[in-house]
Subunit: 205 residues, 2 copies
């Protein structure tokens, strides 16, 4: 497998397959088919077979895929067969929600710190975390070696914070602020924006 | 334009184009090109031209697209040239964040009610909203004629709540719970899940 050659659009579908497979495993299922997986995620069976074949030979004609084996391979390909430390920047409602989110542990992620620039918030607790000052953020992230950040600050502050995160060595930003970030080419940004998801559905209403 | 014939994968990109165009308009820009738009959203210029051409003739060779005109057309195609009422189910951290989210108003959405099943939460306030009981949810949604819901309840409750939402006439669900929902074919579901977005980036780290 040569990661450089895999189109980004396929990479984007792999976590969706992985989530569906983990769900099947939770239900006690052992094997699945491209048809069944496709029905779960809303992608054609042919597309799924094509995507998965990019990474080698899985499954056999007629017997389908071993859920455990395919899960392991996808976790390895996506590099979530380890735990990544993640920081949260912005201790508003969304920062609170992410700090307390139960869905990271078994998906490869662990929140290690949360930052805010409001002096009245710094030092107070969110669950097990003490909110830290963004003034010391760059040093703290560098010292922890964290590569992933979730950005939940207001849109007006997001670009400035993103620049600091890049300085600190962050290479992947999950951006909740409703703006497009300018970052160097070696930094990945993903946008989470409920309006965009809602707009995808209103088309069909 | 025949909406039935447009592949879902293209529909999914249109809100992303719309967000980028609105961003450009906010900066005072009047025209753009498929190249510039592509750089903003990380999609090839050729793909963008192909996607947009599905809906008719926009822009001229060499002069690019009028941002205002293309924005209006995309808003019309996606049916967000009007305001859709939306309910939030689940008054936890994420429900709070969504009820207070500032990014809906200019994107076509308006939160009108929030529900929770915890008796100690019902009747208390989130900003301008009074949390309502999920027991009266089906009737309330029917009487308001709401077609869109955001689901932020725990995974264990999500399928049950989704069933009630469908009974109430909801046809689009934005699901924050980390499970796959089973709904009839005429109901759309979009999943918002930070782990899936993070996993898409770890591939490149």
């Amino acid at each position: 497998m040569n990661a450089e050659k895999i189109p980004d659009i396929i990479v984007g579908r792999l976590p969706v397959y992985l989530r569906a497979l983990q769900r099947m495993a939770d239900k006690g299922l052992k094997t699945t088919s491209s048809q069944e997986l496709g029905d779960q995620v809303g992608i054609s069976a042919a597309q799924i077979r094509k995507d998965i074949s990019q990474f080698g030979e899985f499954g056999k004609q007629g017997t389908g895929y071993s859920i455990e084996f395919l899960t392991e391979r996808l976790r390895s390909i996506l590099k979530v067969d380890r735990i990544w430390d993640v920081v949260v920047v912005g201790a508003g409602d969304m920062g609170h929600a992410l700090s307390n989110y139960q869905g990271f542990a078994d998906r490869g992620f662990h929140v290690v710190a949360i930052f805010d620039n409001k002096k009245e918030k710094v030092g107070s607790k969110i669950g097990e975390f003490t909110i830290e000052d963004t003034e010391t953020m760059v040093e703290r992230i560098k010292s922890m070696g964290v590569k992933i950040a979730m950005l939940t600050v207001p849109a007006t502050a997001a670009q400035d914070v993103a620049k600091k995160l890049v300085q600190a060595g962050v290479r992947a930003i999950l951006n909740y602020a409703p703006i497009t970030l300018n970052v160097p080419n070696n930094v990945k940004v993903q946008y989470i924006d409920p309006s965009t998801h809602l707009q995808r559905m209103t088309f069909y209403l």
